[in-house]
Symmetry: D3
Subunit: 151 residues, 6 copies
């Protein structure tokens, strides 16, 4: 992943899939490309907990403003799209007897590094596993949502 290929979606996926050894390098690259990023973990059978964890992390890390509904709305829809992607169809967990465990990322910046002509965007990636509430009975899933944020 070299300078010219830093895009908001790749960056979000890269962070969500990274292990602890890769993190420092990725965060450094993000910063040098003018992206604001954060990473967190959440596991639940309740969809709302996934949304709350992403939103809380994004606010605590100053990625979106806590006081602007405008920004919260943009993040919400990016999260919803990432969640729908990870669920592959119906955005349901407990109601269809399954559980999700994710590492997530939130990224704010241009769609493509250095392209400031087209506003700021927000990306949310969820990477982890989904499956039955039985240890090990699960497989990998991924979801990515990207939304226009501010101009």
């Amino acid at each position: 992943m070299n300078e010219q290929t830093v895009t908001i979606g790749r960056l979000a996926i890269w962070i969500a899939m990274s292990d602890e050894y890769e993190e420092a390098e990725i965060f450094e690259k993000a910063k040098s490309n003018q992206y604001r990023v954060c990473k967190g973990r959440v596991g639940s059978m309740d969809g709302e907990k996934i949304f709350a964890a992403v939103e809380t992390a994004a606010k605590r890390n100053g990625i979106i403003s806590e006081r602007q509904y405008h920004e919260e709305h943009a993040l919400y829809h990016a999260t919803l799209e990432a969640f729908q992607g990870a669920c592959r169809g119906q955005p349901l967990l407990k109601g269809v007897l399954r559980s999700g465990g994710f590492t997530f990322s939130v990224v704010r910046g241009p769609r493509r590094s250095g392209d400031l002509s087209d506003g700021e965007w927000v990306a949310v990636a969820l990477f982890g596993t989904m499956g039955a509430p039985i240890k090990g009975f699960e497989h990998e899933v991924i979801g990515l949502g990207i939304n226009n944020l501010s101009s």
Copy 2:
């Protein structure tokens, strides 16, 4: 991505997101971990062309058998889940005036490298862009589907 973390989903995503320089290394690692893999490209406003491209590539590369509906069925649902993930909600392109351009991968093997206790699985990853049928008016999307294949 070291030996102990080779899982079918990561591998599928890694291939779909790789550039031409990374491909040889990844394909080598896949082979040494007993995975069968292939990679292709497809862009369209017709959903069915995405499915056909994935299926044709999987058959031509001997990843699934051309004569077994059992295998075709497993691949179909992995592709459908990947497509739903990339579409984030409704698996529609032309009907909601959008187009998709993807690099895709198909991977066959154990859920986790070396774990032969639980049969073979098939993974399909789609990585690319989706957006308006106007050049550059698109953002990144990803989808991953994993399905049980043979025991």
Copy 3:
């Protein structure tokens, strides 16, 4: 509908449901409240034609910029949500043998007249009928989508 209740959603619905006699008054009120608005008609069994009509009208009337994907993306999702609302479930027309005929509106401005603290939003309303492709075999439907636009 008096000054203090002018909100972007009400305004979009009001325009889409207005007849020719009410139009001038509504457009005047919108303008005096700093909203940019347009109105049009479209009927089809092809979903993409609904999207294209809304987008074309919004660009021709200067409601969104033709050159900014950022703005086109915001409008697209507002249109998709309005279309999903009018379809009440699956955003499909021809494939489930039905046709839609709409008067639509696009509105750009604050969520609530005079509140400039929280950026500009875009609203799309579709009001009309949906039904079988047989004259008169149809009933009324409505859809409204609202999205964050610029900050």
Copy 4:
């Protein structure tokens, strides 16, 4: 809104969007056009409470019979369609961390005032806001469902 344009959908939307000053006039017009109508309010993160509020109001106001499943079924599907319209996609509230606050209406009568050739229909409209469970972090939504009732 003059005599010749009284249709069941317009009437339902008009009631759901009306303020207390307009109510008396609308109810009078509905009555003189042989429509039975009611109006209520409900806010919740639980979808089932929306359905229950609409159904209870419709029964208490004699719009549908309490003892006929036939009528309850017709109302249920009109409510489901209105709810899907307001949710624009997935009919979920709490599970995707959002809350809805609605003024709703139920209307029973002909599709078009005075047209008795084609049985009675039932319309449900929901108008209000949906958003994060944070005060003011919400935007307007609308939904309308119309269903055949009795012949």
Copy 5:
């Protein structure tokens, strides 16, 4: 299937799954229980052809009135629900590269034989196969939709 268990749903499924030898007996039983029924076949990758075939058969056999939108609307939604049931999720065929081949039935009468207290209902059942457009690459599917018709 004896007299006391004749219900509209069972009857619709029974007809759709019957072979030519069973048909005469079932149609006789339906008639003696005051049900109006018909049966047909349709195969396509276009969803609209399924809807058209069901509607045409229902009208030709006098199960619903050709001139009443009220009745057409009731049948349409029963057909949509049957189609959604057979598709198990997204009501799409060609767009997700699959084809459906069905025997269908339309049944009109009480929910339960002899119970005239609660109006007439309409049921549509689809039974057949869905799968890839490759001979034999398909498995069985079923769908049933029931809707209130006239009081």
Copy 6:
């Protein structure tokens, strides 16, 4: 239903719709055609209880292995498809104020009796009623899911 027409889907539907007098005959025929089958009942407003009942019954009756995620995954998706079929659209119960009461079946074997060329499949059928949580306010529904299991 004679020997040459024993297919996995018909068998699953037949069991789910059978009364106690027909059961012995059907189970005998299933066994003589090398199918493993079970039957159970479940009613709830919580979707997860439907999934849990089917899975528990399938494991207790030795239809799928308790220790293989591979088999549990195949059964899960067959159950999800049956549930989606019975729900005709959104796989939701309580959240849209409705309840489901089902007799279910699980069947394991070839798609078509005697055809061993194409692996084992699993079918889940749900037959029963869905409706308002008011006694008798419900109508019949059916769902069938079929999935590839082992090769």
